[in-house]
């Protein structure tokens, strides 16, 4: 819904659980706004259709879940190399391999480190509610156009199938320069959009140029802090696990434990400087993820102060931790670190 309101008129996808609600919604609603829905023959075809639509300057998207996102990596790499915008939703499931359909955050590395071949990045947005699914989807289209780069929305089965109240809002489309799009060379010089650079030094320059763009994305960093003012232990978590943690933190606070939350909303760029600032006054951190430890690497890169601790609790896919279970894990670390 957020996508259509943000002007997305082209959707290309392939069925995979747990995100079929997205293509089904688009198949139903895109035609009535004059949009195009294609169920492609593969994930590879859908990302390349997105590449093709994106190069004309229209707003377009695809969605999938982990194994399908692996297949899309080739196209994402080409889109980054050719600087073609597009929105890619990953309602991730669990791996490796076919894995399972339960919520997981095992795709953190794949999403934040590029994922395919070459030295590239995509902006990664991690919603933790239906409201954010909606708001961040709209924002994703703006960011994709602004930076001429794909934007990934990383959720999981929980975010993909949760039902909650939603406050709709008026979206005002931002316009970005279209002096690079392919529309046919009517009355102008032909344009070329490519990622192949063979002349000496050309590719080096291109990569530095991309790097400069990735660095400039830092101005888009988003994060949420919750009860950090007097906290002695900072939990760092994103997406659905951050959502569950809000209940666990309430339980901890009732027991007098000063626990707060730092929730990155942009996973790339990661709010490193903002987290480092928190570490100026608080020494104890605990990363909590639905995997065996991925985001914790970014947390440790941000919190490198001497005498600080970064503990970890990970839950690999298969079951979702309850607020009570997470409270028990927090309690252990709190007792260990804060005497």
């Amino acid at each position: 819904m957020g996508a259509i309101e943000a002007g997305c008129r082209f959707y290309f996808g392939y069925p995979i659980t747990p995100q079929n609600e997205i293509p089904e919604y688009m198949a139903k609603h895109l035609p009535s706004v004059g949009g195009t829905f294609i169920q492609a023959e593969s994930e590879i075809a859908s990302i390349n259709m997105l590449l093709g639509a994106g190069v004309t300057g229209v707003r377009a998207m695809t969605s999938s879940s982990s194994p399908g996102i692996s297949l899309k990596q080739e196209g994402i790499s080409y889109m980054c190399g050719s600087r073609i915008p597009g929105v890619i939703v990953n309602m991730s499931r669990s791996g490796p391999g076919l894995g399972g359909i339960s919520p997981s955050q095992g795709d953190y590395f794949q999403s934040t480190r590029g994922g395919g071949h070459g030295d590239y990045r995509t902006i990664v947005l991690a919603p933790h509610s239906v409201q954010e699914n909606y708001d961040l989807t709209m924002k994703a289209f703006d960011l994709a156009d602004k930076y001429r780069n794909p934007v990934v929305i990383l959720g999981d089965a929980l975010m993909g199938q949760i039902k909650e109240p939603l406050a709709r809002r008026k979206y005002r489309k931002r316009e970005y320069p279209k002096d690079w799009t392919l529309t046919g060379a009517t009355g102008r010089e032909p344009r070329l959009v490519k990622s192949l650079y063979l002349s000496e030094g050309e590719l080096t320059k291109h990569n530095w140029n991309l790097n400069r763009i990735y660095k400039s994305m830092k101005r888009e960093i988003m994060f949420e802090t919750h009860l950090l003012e007097d906290a002695r232990l900072v939990l760092v978590a994103f997406g659905s696990v951050a959502r569950i943690l809000k209940s666990s933190i309430y339980m901890a606070r009732q027991k007098g434990m000063k626990v707060g939350l730092f929730r990155p909303i942009t996973l790339y760029p990661f709010p490193s400087a903002q987290l480092a600032k928190v570490a100026l006054s608080i020494k104890n951190f605990m990363a909590i993820e639905l995997n065996t430890g991925q985001m914790i690497e970014d947390v440790m890169l941000a919190v490198r102060h001497k005498g600080h601790h970064v503990d970890f609790y990970g839950r690999p896919p298969g079951s979702i931790p309850s607020p009570d279970e997470l409270f028990d894990e927090i309690k252990k670390i709190y007792k260990k670190r804060i005497r």
Binding site: F10, F12, T36, I38, A40, E41, S42, I44, A45, S46, N48, M49, L50, L51, G52, A53, G54, V55, T56, V58, A60, E74, G75, Y78, S82, L182, T183, G184, A185, T186, G187, P190, R191, L192, V193, K194, S195, L196
Partner: protein, 246 residues
Amino acid sequence: MKQVFRRPEALVDVPFHFCPGCHHGIIHRLVAEAIDQFALREKTIGVASVGCSVFLYDYFNVDVVEAPHGRAAAVATGVKRAMPDNFVFTYQGDGDLAAIGTAEIIHAGNRGENLTVIFVNNMVFGMTGGQMAPTTMAGQETTTTPYGRDPESNGYPIRMSEVMAQLPGTTFVARASVSDPKNLMKAKKMIRRAVEVQVNREGFGFVELLSACPTNWKMSPQDATKRVQEEMSSYFPLGVYKGEVD
């Protein structure tokens, strides 16, 4: 003095980089002539594929996007759906279209996408140095079939035009050669028709062009051309497989 022969407007005035005896240059020209004939140059969006022909963006005087290897038909689908009033074509070799891009071309054809596909079959992977392609002849020596292609272990050369023609979604499918003036004129008509099909919104037009690759066949241009006319044209019969040309 009256000028009777000139470079098509849809081509840039630069020399081709192609090897002596390669047919890409001729085929480029035929495609450019068809674009000119329908006055489409300013409405054209070309989709370049991976292989020797990727550099078509240096030669065609039109907007071009480069597709990942084999994905040209999917990229073109995205472009055309977004820009239905533009002329969109892909230009793909046999390594690109008939190996890694088989799924994309079959399904684009089966959806009846309003596209024009120029498929150049030279029976090898040209740019990477002459490895076996799906179209390589039984017995043909390539760098990855040094003892000749053995269908027992490497399969049979695939006839893409026949495959495409039997899909209900395709409108025009033909195979041509440019190895002699007579066939070249036929090829020209077929390409023109494949362009016209799109202009008239009649659906999916596909032309396979047999091409020599003297470098990777390790032959003189003359012998390579002869091979196209004889061995190649007999395994890959020329003609219109679906639809009609005037």
